[in-house]
Symmetry: C2
Subunit: 360 residues, 2 copies
């Protein structure tokens, strides 16, 4: 091959047996020798800035990943990326994923996670990535795809594209069953303390609530629907607002267990007895739901099972096995405990309509 042939021979560049680019590929593309590429990779400083830049560009272009024996044999090493590590929620997911045949590195989603973040995981030798409740930035998704590192998303905030496998729960059905439970107990004035309005799973739960009411021939009173942030404080504040209404609801459906506990506290502070004067249904069925006083009626979301499923889907992808389904939703299930009870009959002398004013 005559000198100068590098210009037009991109297809002829040396690659490893596996097809992945090697130091030789990069060296050829950047028009330098193999040791020079090695130096750039190892951060040695005896490389001219311009050479370094050229090599770096080639490394980026080819998505070079140093051989890591980990990626090829033994238990695959994957990253489990959570956006918040300050809730009992997280540990349920972690428990599920670590229960699979994967080695799981737990990390938090960094602020401006993008291409650079994805590449750092790739070059750290991760065989795959599970992203929980975070948006997967588009450039990160592309970087993973180019490097052949599969990604599975748990409980996506946005509807992921058809090429991103994801695991969720039947949030809509959960909202429906929670509300039906309260309706069956005789409640007619049922408030909602939901999660953020724009988050997918939260919307679905509230839509389930609406559906249950409409199915029962009741309208939705918009003043009874409030949005929080899934956290305790928001649950407390929004529940307080509902309890301070001129005609307060007799039951609340909360978007999470944590919010439900906030609602219990808002009731306790006002001397409103749960469940006698106020029924409360949560969502998640975290261990804390059993530890609440009174123990919380809630919609069980099988978080550990979702983690386990995401793990096994990822294991399949890592092993090159095709997925049966790109999107799986696991069933939620109502767990009745002590925070709900039959609604009291109309309290005499108290102005209360059995059916709230209908509204779309």
């Amino acid at each position: 091959v005559p000198a100068g042939a590098t210009e037009d021979g991109e297809d002829a560049l040396a690659t490893s047996r596996t097809g992945r680019p090697t130091l030789a590929t990069i060296a050829e593309a950047a028009g330098v020798s193999l040791p020079t590429v090695s130096k750039v990779l190892n951060g040695k400083d005896d490389v001219a800035a311009s050479t370094r830049a050229r090599v770096q560009e080639a490394l980026d272009e080819f998505g070079y990943v140093p051989v890591s024996p980990r990626r090829d044999r033994g238990t695959p090493l994957v990253d489990l990326v959570l956006n918040a590590l300050d809730s009992p929620w997280a540990v349920e997911i972690i428990r599920g994923v670590t229960g699979t045949e994967l080695d799981v590195v737990v990390s938090a989603m960094p602020e401006g996670a993008g291409r650079g973040w994805a590449q750092s995981l790739v070059s750290a030798g991760r065989s795959g990535v599970i992203v929980v409740t975070s948006a997967l930035p588009d450039d990160a998704r592309q970087a993973f795809e180019r490097a052949g590192v599969p990604v599975v998303v748990i409980d996506p905030v946005d509807i992921p594209g058809p090429d991103v496998p994801s695991v969720g729960a039947t949030n809509w059905a959960g909202g429906l069953s929670a509300t039906q439970h309260l309706l069956e107990l005789g409640h007619r004035r049922i408030g909602v303390v939901g999660g953020p309005e724009r988050v997918l799973c939260s919307r679905a739960r509230i839509d389930g609530y609406r559906a249950a009411l409409e199915r029962a021939g009741l309208g939705v009173d918009p003043s009874l629907v409030r949005y929080g942030d899934f956290r305790h404080e928001g649950g407390y504040t929004e529940a307080a607002a509902l309890l301070d209404l001129p005609v307060r609801p007799t039951a609340l459906f909360a978007g999470s267990d944590e919010q439900a506990l906030g609602a219990i506290e808002a009731a306790r502070v006002r001397g409103i007895a749960v469940p006698e004067q106020l029924g409360i249904v949560g969502f998640d069925d975290l261990p804390v739901a059993r530890w609440a006083s009174p123990p919380l009626t809630t919609v069980r979301q099988p978080l550990a099972a979702m983690g386990r499923l995401a793990g096994s889907m990822l294991a399949d992808l890592v092993a090159g096995r095709p997925l049966d389904h790109q999107r799986v939703e696991l069933a939620t299930r109502l767990v009745v405990r002590a925070s709900t009870a039959p609604a009291r009959g109309q309290e005499p002398g108290r102005e209360q309509r059995s059916v709230p004013p209908a509204r779309g």
Copy 2:
């Protein structure tokens, strides 16, 4: 070197530049060729059983660890081993450790964890290990030591030997301050729902309780000291036993927040108001403590900080930096919320001694 020299030349065996044994070391020791050792390592089946056994023996003897680029450069990969992944407790520790400059693989301590378990972590390329609230089996400790993989223990169940670095909290001082808080509020009949009697940190907390009582000139009534298992159910059961005593305590000190929540529920079921009729102090200050109704007064154990410290100690050891201290205890701190209040004055017509019968 004449053939047959392998017999007596153990010191002359080939090793890598770093001093670690290589395939050549093992091959020489086992009296086979290098490819044969490679085959054994990779589980190929074209090796005679007897040869395989001989090679395996040499691998064990020399503590052979395949080169893993991970162990030498980039962010160190460590294992965080928890004995239970079903409590909000775990996520606090995880949060702390993942906050350090380490990649953290989270796993559960397997049943009969020993030498084999340690070796599997070593050969999976872990640069270090953090063990949480589990006994580190002696043979595992030795295996890690031989492989040069450092270990740090968080909140050890046994007092670790002087050569095992560990991080804990000032449990004794925590038990003392919890009890002093209740004494200052005027409580004289204070019960304990502790963790398992034999677990170190639990013992220390109860000893702190004893010390506070004795310092106040009060004896310890053994019928008021009960042992649970740190879990909700145990807290409920043991608190129930104390509340059903002919003369029940006016306050309880629980060994964990989870137990304290069990105690709150035991009180609620009996119609005993917290804090008016029963003060409750927990231990840990997990997020759930803030979410309880009423919000829980508790002894804050800086779990995330403990995780962070263990992580940075491990990072030091991995980098070959000596540790300043082998054993560090971080300070606990009383957090007063709404589950404690001044003790009621002697209830008229109620037979109740202000000082319980003294007993060693």
